[in-house]
Symmetry: C2
Subunit: 337 residues, 2 copies
DNA sequence: TTATAAAAAGTGATCGATCCACTTCTGAGC
DNA sequence: GCTCAGAAGTGGATCGATCACTTTTTATAA
């Protein structure tokens, strides 16, 4: 099988000699077709076609010290940010970059080391870290490294937290419906977004003078965690509204409520997050927050490209790309009926 | 900003001169630390540490003609095979390969061209095409190209179709419950798997002497398509069981049934595919087929690596990695009660 | 024509590693 | 002390492009 013709691909020199010009001329053609006299140009084009020549990008990278490649680093695990990635790929490709995906098992330390190696290897021009990489020690200064939750950083600079506005709006909405006692089933606390939501939840409850039965979950984003949280509640807890970490968790909450004979939304209101397709079609359909993951993916890449090229950083995407969507899973509490 | 110290990373020559040895010795150290005398070895190690030297992988690739990099090509679009990819990454990394992801917009022709370019660019040692790339014209023979649905190919060789066993088992199960009239809401027919399921559905209906109201959907995998399919049925269609393209479609079917006053599973049984988390927690929970996406991802990479190394191809994963799971969305039909 | 500037093409060095063919050490055996 | 084999180390070529210069050709004006 490996015995196929080991014929090496054509090089720029072979093209040059077939075309009867120097290798430099061919190189020039590759960079700007119009810098050649039409006659030479035809010869070169013919030779390229005849030999089916394609430039060896590795050799080119070596000389130019440009690879036109970015790396996206993510922690290996069950949560795979597909939509963000898809948008990131597209944006990068449009800008002429290839994207290498590196998923890393192990903790933040391992990740930080691998990122350093990657940065020093000369293989990529920039790195986008999807999962937080922490602030560990020396960070290579050879290539820009951008963390995906960068506009969280941006907000943090202003003393705010990402998602703050939405969590507050959810609670406000529910309290206007008459809810007084809340529960938060948190998402994986390893994620900045989940931590932010939790903080803002607690803070808002306090500010509006409402009651919280507490925060459950927090280990992952599973529907099971929602189910477990709700089924573990004491009967007299008084909770009538749940703010879930995301739609999956919310679905688990709904199912858990059902399991103990509570109807949603009659006895319990549930709010999700992410506007997943299943939340639109489940019964009851889930109130949720529509987030524009694609916009975040695009922004992350734009940010990285700006750093690479030394351009001014782009404006973070408008915060109201996050929209509250009210569906069947929220209603006034039983006591208010 | 771009004015940071343009200090170039250390090269093998600098290491050599600091260590007082030749560059070749350093190179040998990098390849096999034990081929050096302990005394020289210490000198080299010291120099490497002092200069924080890391080999330039681009230069290395150029000389060795090995990049240790694979490419995964997928059609840009809303369906992002996250779990398959995650497993593929992991497998590749374990084998010492980096993975580049190339998502391509445009039709099969564009895709085929880009794949050719990629193959010829010398940047990757193998290509895994997730979306079918068709059989268009010349295919580069420089690096192995593997299509992800390769074990479909394997089965096709035996005159079978992938998923055949499961679709047949689903219909058989439903018919044993008493169902006689079926409907299939197909997934995107651009996908081999969706086409296979459809064919086997039709074939099985025929073989078992059952009735089919037909095949709807087929444009995508959306829940909306399931909803539309079911709400468009005439009242007297007699359909009591639906085989949906996947869990999302199934959820749409359930919701659509609800919208026209049919209860699931009392009036209609619904079977999904994929064993998504939401199907386990929706109401009713969905009967489905658990497929091992990770296994497929791993297999695809193993297959590719085998081709690269000229090893014998690995056995396709056992077919019974697909398991039928019976949940609340299936039951005997109303007439049989 | 010829002088001259601009455009086009050519020469050889270079990027940072590995590999190949040698040379120099080292130490065992006599 | 000498020989000699094997281990250790060296110098220079090489991979396939681009780049900085130099040389040749072409176009334009006098």
């Amino acid at each position: 099988m490996a015995g196929a013709a080991p014929k090496r691909p054509a090089t720029i020199h072979q093209v040059a000699s077939l075309a009867g010009v120097s290798h430099t001329t061919v190189s020039r053609y590759l960079q700007d077709k119009d810098s050649l006299k039409p006659k030479t140009r035809v010869k070169v084009e013919f030779a390229i076609k005849t030999l089916d020549y394609r430039p060896n990008l590795v050799a080119r990278s070596m000389r130019t010290r440009k690879t036109n490649r970015l790396a996206i680093v993510l922690a290996a695990g069950p949560y795979f940010p597909g939509r963000l990635l898809a948008a990131a790929f597209e944006t990068a490709h449009k800008a002429g970059y290839q994207v290498e995906v590196v998923s890393i098992e192990g903790g933040p330390k391992v990740r930080a080391d691998r990122i350093d190696d990657l940065a020093e290897s000369g293989q990529v021009e920039g790195i986008l870290a999807i999962s937080s990489i922490g602030r560990t020690g020396r960070r290579s200064r050879r290539v820009p490294i951008v963390e995906s939750d960068i506009y969280d950083d941006h907000l943090r600079g202003k003393g705010e937290l990402a998602n703050a506005a939405e969590v507050r709006a959810i609670i406000q909405h529910l309290s206007e419906l008459g809810h007084r006692t809340f529960l938060h089933v948190a998402g994986a606390q390893t994620h900045t977004s989940a931590r932010n939501r939790k903080s803002v939840y607690l803070q808002t409850i306090e500010e509006l003078g409402l009651r919280s039965f507490g925060v459950l979950g927090g280990d992952d984003w599973s529907a099971q965690s929602g189910y477990d949280a709700i089924t573990s509640l004491p009967d007299d807890c008084g909770v009538t509204a749940v703010v879930a970490g995301n739609d999956g968790v919310a679905l688990g909450v709904v199912r858990g409520a059902l399991a103990r004979g509570w109807q949603v939304p009659r006895d319990l209101s549930v709010f999700g997050w992410d506007d997943e397709e299943f939340g639109r079609f489940s019964s009851p359909s889930l109130s949720t927050v529509a987030i524009d993951r694609e916009a975040r993916g695009r922004y992350a890449i734009h940010h990285l490209l700006a750093e690479i090229q030394g351009d001014p950083l782009p404006e973070p995407p408008s915060r109201d790309i996050n929209r509250l969507i009210f569906r069947e899973s929220t209603a006034p509490p039983p006591t208010a009926q």
